[in-house]
Subunit: 95 residues, 2 copies
DNA sequence: TAAAGTAGTTTATTTTATAAACCAAACAAA
DNA sequence: TTTGTTTGGTTTATAAAATAAACTACTTTA
């Protein structure tokens, strides 16, 4: 039987964010924005949702005089991502 | 770079419908409803969207005295599903 | 023949994603 | 030196989507 798909991860942009963070230690707001082609507003909103869920952490500092927002995935985020991927595989396979 | 995910397929219920239909020649409304646990109303709406996109066909007949709605995936639907799966794989792999 | 069940559709509501507008600081240049 | 522009965002409003509720029509059963 097909499993539930975590709705927080089943969103193109949030999935892209998680996918990027699953493949690197940390990534900046600007980098994620470039990679996903998302608008800053949309990205900001979706990052916030992932933070609230405890899937990522966001750190704000300064790089010289420019603000630098860095994101990284938490253990719980990694686990949720893996569960999502497993659930999703059930939908994708054509026997 | 991450590819666009066909929004028509990137929906849990519609993806489930397509997944079922990719694995059988045809399936009834009732069967799909059982397998997906969707409400009849929601299922009806989502099937309609897939029909409009040309991804599935729906045939309505009678089985004895009961209405029988059967669905099956079209060639274009199969293609769209496969493209979606390929695009999605880009998001899932952790290197 | 009244009530309940089956197989759906249509419409309304809620949720979600996205875009637009906005803010603050820095730099640039006239 | 104050006007405009870019960077790096956040907040709020709007559009789109998913879902649920209400409804239809016909059948079965008590």
């Amino acid at each position: 039987m097909l499993k539930e798909l975590n709705p927080l991860l089943h969103s193109q942009l949030r999935l892209a964010i998680m996918s990027i963070l699953m493949n690197c230690e940390e990534a900046s707001f600007v980098y994620i924005k470039e990679q996903t082609q998302a608008s800053a507003g949309n990205l900001s909103v979706q990052l916030e949702k992932l933070v609230k869920a405890g899937y990522i952490t966001v750190e704000k500092k300064f790089m010289g005089k420019k603000p630098l927002t860095t994101c990284s995935v938490t253990e719980s985020g990694k686990q949720a991502f893996e569960e999502y991927v497993n659930a999703l595989r059930g939908y994708l396979e054509v026997k």
